[in-house]
Symmetry: C2
Subunit: 450 residues, 2 copies
């Protein structure tokens, strides 16, 4: 029997034909929007029995095409499974359905004095399930870790609809293989996650934010490396090159910090904690250290409104670049000491291949988002030469001990580069794991593997 | 050709016939002590070609029998692969071989102002490789997490000797399946880990330690739950019941805190950080809160020597119980709000089955070590009835949302209880994962699976 929540209207199919990845579109054959766990299970069981590919979807904000239905089949959206089931203030845990919007969880736990740190830029529309599927990061990963460090247990369905429970409602677990962490970051290729038990923290009482401007981008990177080496551990440590600030300002339509656009590179630093005096003292020490490293500008935000204004600049970059025209976003990550060399490599690559790039990201984590702009590039250059440049970029990243994705995942658009990171043995092993979960290969086909 | 590092002397075989688990002994056919990665690879390739079971071993301090050669074959000790290859102060990382003693790593990184938090009780003899294989915890897991949160990447061999690299030298990684975290906690059943890239932190500048004594054990547990709910996040939050203190004192041969043995339950609390004033203020607030919860005694340690004395009491419990006679150690973990009920359940179970127990552990993590003493129990009671009691205990733990091992692993002695935690589907999935790594089933056979 055709499952209840599956619809085939063209409008709905078009709505679920794309995420935020470039301008890619693939029309699914149908879209399921189950409103209960039982409906979800029925959809999966039916699809499996009829050999229909299934593509799980969250907020459809991915940047690697993880939810694109490239092989047709059904998109199964988890968006209507969007209940926060429990917020447990005693054990500092939340149990939530996969479709909960990340920002809704932030607001719900913060109202109780609690804190869920993972904070991707798309937090207003991305979902916890999508965050788990991609091991989403965000601006607080330096001090607090990425999504995976907050996932204690999962409830999911295997592709055929059989239920799977992983982990427990505990901070520790040494009970057999860590299926929880295998599902985190598996991009919907192993199982369909519907419920997660998440670790929470007490909400830090205070935060202060600094924006530091340096004449050269490389000086900003060196200053970041040095302050971490000296033992500071900011909640956020973000880098923006000059072009990134310019894009953000053009998008915002005003210049919150007119002098900022004169700086070759900027650092946005947030310190948090429960002891205000310590935070303020550390901010002063960081400003002094930055000055020694060449900083010429410094903005210090104490109030929430001032902090929000600094963050608006940083948070606008992604959407500003995205709305400016075709581009490719590479999510490079390296040991942070390699960041100055990585940035120089990107710019030299651009000169060689004839593209401009906008770079920014989570410098504390070594995670540099490299946005390659299409601008005047020919179709041939965009489709053939730029991918060769990206391959060179990823080879450099892997040589530095890095990885080809820090937080966006491999999905559809990065899969061809997988052999740069992994040996034949490693790829074969991952294929065997995939097969253990999904023997028919029906779950999110065409993703991750080259 | 017989691999160079494999020896068959009875003395060596006897030495590697046991770990710290009960009084269990299984004689291996040979012992390999490779001194280079190439020798290790040669041993594995030879054994695989000749269908010889391989049991990887670290410091042989495990409490679930994970290194017992229950099917014969060769024990492959990683102890001679014991070099700290790199300590990278800029990126806050260390690259170490599997055989490095955990305490040696602590000392090496602390000399540089850095910090490797995982701190199992056996730190003086356990190895990093063994810690990774079991996802070892220890007293700092509440604030800092268990071993898995410090493992960024691994180098390992598949059972047939093919090399496997996982992860990267970065804090973040969203590049395909997380093989690193699948190997962490896999108890040497999937691959033989020889090198690990570990995350380090800046060493906290200050620490202060408190011992709080309560008339009743349950009061100590309730106080711990409350102080965490109020937002305190100690580096350590340890519980000891009266019997545990008495065992420790008997083992030490003196009473460091004579009043402590009068308390039904004690909490050992350590706060650390970079701002002494905050730590001292929080210690005061915690003492006041404990008093409201019924604490009658409080000892406050400021100097390293005083702190060491408090910790000696706690750290002696395990070895004190172990040296007192036959016992079984159950490594229960529950959401911490369930701890008072868990302790009551254990004691009621003991009354029903006629055993005494000594309980202590990492109360902040909900991890209670339940030591069931054999004392006068008959062979039949010890071999048949006590396992039924353990099954009841684990059923209770799982009903509470907990797990049957918090940090010791499943190994040999807990495998029969796996169906209490996992469904047939989940066990079958784990077996399929095992098969993807080890199609011949030669690596650490007889472990984890019931």
């Amino acid at each position: 029997m055709w499952p209840k929540s599956v619809e085939t209207s063209l409008e709905l199919r078009e709505q679920y034909s794309h995420d935020w990845t470039e301008d890619l579109r693939f029309l699914p054959d149908a879209v399921a929007l189950p409103t209960t766990v039982e409906e979800l299970q029925a959809v999966l069981a039916y699809a499996y029995a009829h050999d229909i590919p299934i593509v799980p979807a969250g907020g459809c904000t991915g940047l690697s095409g993880g939810m694109l239905p490239v092989a047709g089949g059904w998109v199964v959206s988890l968006q209507k499974l969007n209940r926060i089931l429990t917020i447990d203030s005693t054990n500092l845990q939340a149990i939530v359905q996969a479709g909960v919007i990340t920002q809704h969880l932030h607001e719900a736990v913060e109202a109780l004095g609690l804190f869920y740190p993972p904070d991707p830029s798309s937090r207003g529309s991305c979902t916890i399930g999508g965050n788990i599927a991609h091991n989403a990061g965000g601006v607080r990963a330096l001090k607090y870790g990425t999504t995976r460090e907050y996932v204690l247990g999962l409830e999911a369905f295997l592709p055929d609809g059989r239920p799977l429970r992983t982990g427990s409602r505990t901070l520790k677990n040494a009970t057999a293989y860590n299926l929880t962490q295998l599902l985190v970051g598996s991009e919907g290729t192993l199982a369909v996650i519907h419920t997660a038990t998440l670790k929470l923290l007490p909400k830090p009482r205070y935060a202060r934010t600094l924006l530091l401007g340096f004449p050269e981008a490389s000086q900003a990177l060196h200053a970041a490396i040095r302050l971490l080496r000296e033992g500071f551990l900011p909640a956020a440590l973000e880098f923006m090159e000059q072009e990134a600030v310019q894009y953000a300002e053009a998008y915002l339509g005003y210049s919150p910090y007119p002098e900022a656009r004169q700086c070759g590179g900027l650092l946005l630093i947030e310190l948090d904690g429960d002891w205000l005096e310590a935070i303020e003292a550390h901010c002063g020490e960081i400003e002094a250290l930055a000055e020694k490293e060449g900083a010429l500008q410094s903005w210090y935000a104490q109030t929430s409104a001032e902090r929000a204004r600094l963050w608006e600049l940083r948070r606008s970059i992604g959407v500003a670049v995205r709305s400016s025209g075709p581009y490719k976003e590479e999510d490079t990550v390296v040991p942070r000491s390699a960041l100055p060399d990585l940035l120089a490599f990107v710019k030299a690559l651009g000169q060689r291949y004839g593209f401009r790039s906008v770079c920014y990201g989570h410098v504390g984590d070594g995670n540099l988002h490299v946005n390659i702009l299409r601008e005047g590039l020919s179709e041939q250059a965009w489709r053939e030469e730029v991918p060769r440049a990206v391959a060179e970029l990823f080879q450099f990243v892997v040589q530095q001990g890095g990885a080809i994705s820090g937080e966006h995942g491999i999905g559809w658009v990065q899969r061809r580069y997988m052999p740069i990171q992994f040996s034949e043995t490693e790829l074969a092993l991952m294929r065997a794991l995939k097969k253990a979960f999904d023997p028919k290969g029906l779950l999110n086909p065409g993703k991750i593997f080259p």
